[in-house]
């Protein structure tokens, strides 16, 4: 059970213990917090495995409890890249174990935990033998980049059911777990953050920075940026910059780091500052390259969190929308909006194209 920490039973288990985040400083939870930190750090390194002492934790409580703590820490950090790495890593780990479980177990998790409509069949079509079928609506509820053989058009569908092999169902579950973890982290509500948790978060950030871990996954950043995803604060800064308003140092830092993080090139960012009253190409370029991690420290900088934006007077209260209330970081806003295609903005004038 501890290897598949997403199952419903686990939540029940935690409740049973009557534990909450407030107890984090207790001696009982301390080891679990350590474990949570280790889990997160592990997930940042590509190809790394859990250290032995993690994979072999025999204390079931410890292993189970570390999971919600890890989620709380990541929610507090609010860095989408760390979040995703963790989700992918944990989901993959769960998937690995599932592959060894008997088919019955895999099916019962799919049905029980996710409510999927799954049938057991035995059909040989072409060169493959299928033992399972999932209703196409459940199949499509798992969304991930569809490599050709996962595209519906290349699947065999019989009267609404997509044929699957056991390892494929395990893979679907894995994707769903990943999504669930991300949702949990992104939607976690942290009212009062205990000191221990804050410290753990800082520790992780420091570790990530100093080891340059963020550089191990630069290619996973979005390759092309889309302005529709900019949060109000950034949209406003872009507007001001284009209009040639003089921006404060913090504003420039926030704008440049944000745009670099969503995939804008150094040239494009430099161009954006061209209208500044004090624009000097070489200087600006040098600074932007520095922020992009191309110079000196080789650290790629992240834009300030919403809280820091607010205290720097860069969060435009009057322009904030519903999505703003759910995020703690402008990048998270962007990430949510682009990734999920959610429109939270003001409604545009209806377009003839919208109707048929």
């Amino acid at each position: 059970m501890s290897n598949t920490p997403f199952v419903k039973e686990m939540h029940a288990y935690l409740k049973l213990k009557g534990l909450s985040l407030a107890d984090i400083d207790s001696d009982y939870l301390k080891p679990a917090l350590e474990l949570a930190k280790a889990r997160i750090l592990c997930s940042c390194k590509r190809g790394s495995r859990y250290p032995d002492n993690l994979d072999n934790v025999t204390d079931l409580d410890l292993s189970l409890l570390s999971y919600p703590l890890a989620i709380a820490i990541l929610a507090y950090i609010g860095n989408p890249i760390l979040t995703r790495r963790f989700a992918v890593y944990e989901a993959r780990r769960a998937g690995r174990f599932l592959r060894w479980e008997p088919e019955e177990k895999v099916v019962s998790i799919a049905r029980g935990t996710f409510g999927w409509d799954i049938r057991r069949v035995r059909l040989t079509i072409g060169k493959r033998t299928y033992t399972l079928a999932i209703h196409f609506t459940d199949y499509l509820s798992v969304s991930f980049p569809r490599e050709p053989h996962w595209k519906l058009v290349n699947r065999i569908m019989l009267e609404g059911y997509v044929l699957l092999q056991k390892h494929e169902l395990a893979r679907l579950i894995e994707e769903r777990v990943r999504r669930n973890i991300m949702d949990k982290i992104e939607n976690a509500k942290l009212d009062a953050v205990p000191k221990a948790l804050e410290e753990a978060s800082l520790e992780i950030l420091r570790a990530v920075r100093s080891s340059g871990l963020t550089e191990t996954f630069p290619s996973e950043r979005m390759s092309s940026y889309s302005p529709q995803g900019y949060p109000p604060c950034i949209a406003k800064l872009v507007e001001d910059a284009t209009a040639g308003k003089n921006l404060s140092h913090t504003a420039r830092f926030a704008l440049a780091t944000f745009l670099l993080n969503v995939g804008m090139s150094v040239d494009e960012v430099v161009d954006l500052f061209r209208r500044m009253p004090d624009f000097r190409e070489e200087i600006t370029r040098y600074q932007v390259e520095h922020l992009a991690g191309l110079r000196g420290s080789k650290i790629k900088y992240s834009p300030p969190s919403c809280e820091n934006m607010r205290s720097a007077g860069l969060c435009p209260e009057e322009l904030k929308d519903a999505l703003c209330n759910r995020v703690r970081h402008p990048l998270m806003y962007y990430y949510l909006k682009i990734k999920r295609g959610i429109t939270y903005g003001k409604e545009k004038k209806p377009h003839k194209e919208d109707i048929s």
Binding site: H135, V153, K346, E347, P350, S356
Partner: protein, 408 residues
């Protein structure tokens, strides 16, 4: 102009007072958003309307006489809210739009035309992407309904419903509702609980399946498919069989087959066919063809089975779609349900619009192409006064090419 429009509006008014039984009130009515376009300002859509019950909706239609009436395929917690996140999306019906607008039909060169608004260049048939002379995208198109076009749309609907929605996706016929769109095609609605929560990406996968987008023979046809199989494998097997059986040198050349390959196919036709129909089937002979030719063959077969649906409609989970039973303001034709078994005979011009009138006297104002509407062919001369069936007359009047002289 004003007078003409007000006469049309009067007919619409009578329609909504007399024939309101045609209005099909959407399921879950209070959770739907409505949008309307009125005669007084045909460029503005009034949105974010909602109705608590069918009575309210019918009264509204009668009192306000919309030129176009739409409702949301989505259900919302607060359909009247003005922004999407306040509305709170709860789910959406799965809808498909088949419209001959996007499908080239042979008759289009006879009745459709386009004009560039920037340089006045014009032409027959479907408009090009951009003006060939000045590159402008502002092309005005003059499009007409015709029986041949509608036949094409009906074939596509049958393929969509029977081959895809029923046999592959497993929907029951009574879950699938087909409506004439009021212009050049049909809308297919599925309201089942199961589809409500599909997001836009999921709907795109459904579209891709139906259009055969992303189909990879190397994956799907792995292990020679049998003609009795269902889904794309079966379709491809039957299509390839038919293709080989009918193949002639002209088509093969057009698809880019080499001389050597054409000779191979023609001389070995029987052997290849026997392989395809044997059990288990044997496709080995086909692999004598070059990869390029084989892919051209598969692509040709795939296109003959794929259905030409408008993906924007299916993937948009916040879309407004025409209200069944309402009149289409640009054609005067009613949006009506069509049974799948009756679709072949369906003729939108045979639907009675008003109980009280059966024909119209028109004065023709502009050139109208010769058109086959229902079972009859119509051709008019400018300035001529003619008596025509009511729906044909209303159609011409709504298109702005004729003036109603008399209601009879």
């Amino acid at each position: 102009m004003e007078r003409r429009r007000s006469l049309i509006r009067r007919i619409f008014h009578e329609f909504y007072s007399e024939r309101y039984e045609l209005i099909e009130v959407p399921s879950d009515l209070p959770k739907r958003e409505f949008g309307f376009i009125f005669f007084k300002s045909p460029d503005i859509m009034v949105r974010h309307k909602a109705f608590n019950n069918s009575q309210e909706l019918l009264e509204f239609l009668k009192a306000n006489v919309p030129m176009h009436a739409y409702y949301s395929t989505a259900h919302y917690k607060w359909p009247e809210a003005r922004s999407m996140d306040e509305k709170m999306w709860l789910g959406a019906d799965l809808v498909f739009d088949i419209d001959v607008d996007h499908i080239p039909t042979p008759c289009k060169t006879a009745h459709d035309s386009w004009k560039c608004l920037d340089c006045n260049l014009g032409g027959k048939g479907m408009p090009p992407e951009t003006c060939p002379k000045c590159g402008s995208k502002r092309l005005e198109r003059d499009a007409w309904v015709c029986d041949i076009c509608l036949q094409k749309a009906k074939e596509e609907v049958l393929k969509l419903v029977e081959d895809f929605l029923v046999s592959d996706f497993g929907f029951r016929l009574n879950e699938i509702k087909v409506y004439f769109s009021g212009h050049r095609g049909f809308h297919v609605h599925i309201e089942s609980e199961k589809v409500q929560h599909l997001d836009s990406d999921a709907r795109r996968e459904i579209v891709d399946y139906i259009k055969g987008i992303g189909f990879r023979p190397s994956i799907s046809l792995n292990g020679d498919p049998d003609m009795s199989e269902t889904g794309w494998r079966g379709r491809m097997a039957r299509g390839v069989y038919k293709f080989i059986a009918d193949a002639n040198a002209d088509l093969l050349t057009e698809l880019g087959f080499k001389k050597r390959e054409i000779t191979f196919l023609v001389t070995n036709r029987e052997i290849i066919l026997r392989g395809l129909e044997s059990s288990p089937p044997y496709w080995g002979c086909l692999h004598k063809l070059s990869k390029r030719s084989l892919n051209a063959l598969f692509d040709f077969v795939k296109r003959s089975y794929a259905v030409d649906i408008d993906e924007r409609v299916t993937t948009d989970i916040k879309r407004l779609i025409r209200l069944p039973g309402s009149l289409h303001g640009k054609t005067g034709l009613p949006v009506v349900p069509v049974g799948i078994s009756d679709i072949e005979e369906f003729d939108p011009f045979s639907i009675e619009i008003l109980n009280s009138a059966s024909s119209l006297k028109l004065k023709i104002l502009r050139k109208i192409p010769t058109l086959k509407l229902g079972s009859r062919e119509y051709s008019f001369k400018v300035n001529e006064r003619v008596k025509v069936p009511f729906s044909v007359g209303l159609y011409m009047a709504c298109r702005g090419v004729a003036e109603i002289v008399n209601v009879m």
